[in-house]
């Protein structure tokens, strides 16, 4: 079976992780699962790469972590958004939307332009 999934656009992992944390605190595996489910399995994220990203964001104050017990009764580290993380997410999403709109516009010129 050929892997049809695509790699993430560089620099978007942080934004997706922050977005995954909006409903509430999650541990790393739950974040990975949510990204996979919500992208309908299209995005290929090497799950291990989540952790350096999470730790970096924690040091920058975008998220904070706390050890807790998972649904399967296992010790796991939970990450939650901070106010700073929420602000960063808003900014990044706005930038991302502007960029994709612009790229879209270039790829699909309006009819009068095509003429």
């Amino acid at each position: 079976m050929k892997d049809e999934r695509i790699d993430l656009v560089p620099g978007t992992l942080d934004m997706l992780v922050l977005r995954a944390l909006v409903p509430g605190a999650l541990h790393g595996y739950a974040i990975a699962r949510r990204l996979q489910q919500q992208s309908a399995d299209v995005l290929r994220v090497e799950e291990g790469s989540l952790y350096p990203a999470l730790h970096r964001m924690e040091r920058r104050g975008s998220v904070r972590s706390k050890w807790g017990v998972s649904e399967a009764n296992r010790r796991a580290k939970y990450y939650a958004l901070t106010a700073k993380g929420r602000r960063q997410l808003r900014e990044r999403v706005a930038t991302w939307r502007r960029m994709t709109t612009a790229i879209e516009a270039v790829l699909e010129p309006t009819p009068e332009c095509r003429a």
Partner: protein
């Protein structure tokens, strides 16, 4: 402190200062939990335990590389902080050494000053002893408080008065007062030509016969009537310190 650091963007959180082994154990446990949870889900989806674990590890990627990356992130700021610590300690030691060195110099100075002070105190004590010894009685001199009297300003009355001499000057002393203090005019005094010689130079001649001892208002009345100062009256002139009053003999 952490808040302040955060404000300046130096550190977001105080770096984890636990032993390195504890940090590494935390990272390992976190990563292992991920793989275990994935494997558990895989098994629930129908994979065999071995297959479930293999798939979980494959999806995770190189655990050792991820762990190393996490460790570096956790330790980086700590290393920076430790370097700052080392620098601060070096500065502190240097400062303390400089202080001690300066302190030794200051102590030497202080000892020198103290020695000087002891000599001074000894000299002073000797002086005090000398002062306390009963002084032999000695005759009074001009320096013993009579200086004030010596310097008192006076006016001098000469000529045809009953008792010529010096009169102690004070504010408001007039010619007639000075003459009265000298016993008044002598029998043959020329009251019409009394000279007052001022100390700084200048002579005024007064006619005592037309002396009008009274208020300024009275003099003004005379002045008004004549349209000018009445030449037939004379204000009692005020004397100045050092004036010499010369009362001549009458021509009559």
């Amino acid at each position: 402190m952490t808040g302040l650091l955060e404000r300046f963007g130096l550190f977001v959180r105080a770096p984890d200062m636990r032993p390195r082994a504890a940090i590494e154990a935390d990272i390992r446990e976190e990563l292992a939990a991920h793989v275990a949870l994935r494997a558990q889900d895989n098994e629930a989806a129908g994979m065999s335990p071995e297959e479930a674990l293999r798939d979980a590890e494959l999806r995770f990627g190189d655990t050792r590389r991820v762990a190393a990356a996490c460790r570096e992130i956790q330790m980086k700021e700590r290393i920076v902080l430790q370097r700052i610590n080392v620098i601060l300690i070096v500065v502190l030691i240097a400062g303390t050494a400089a202080n001690l060195w300066a302190g030794a110099g200051a102590r030497a100075d202080l000892n020198r000053d103290l020695a000087g002070l002891r000599v001074d105190v000894a000299a002073l004590a000797g002086e005090v002893r000398a002062t306390r010894a009963p002084a032999p009685p000695r005759p009074l001199t001009a320096n013993d408080g009579f200086l004030l009297l010596e310097e008192t300003r006076r006016v001098y009355v000469l000529g045809q008065v009953s008792a010529p001499g010096a009169v102690v000057w004070r504010k408001g002393l007039t010619l007639s007062m000075a003459l009265a203090e000298c016993g008044g005019l002598a029998k043959h005094a020329g009251a019409e030509r009394i000279s007052v010689v001022h100390e700084g130079g200048g002579i005024d001649v007064h006619d005592l016969r037309i002396l009008q001892i009274g208020t300024q208002g009275l003099a003004d009345r005379y002045a008004d009537r004549a349209g000018k100062a009445d030449p037939t009256t004379m204000e009692d002139p005020l004397l100045r310190p050092g004036d010499r009053i010369i009362v001549p003999e009458s021509f009559l």
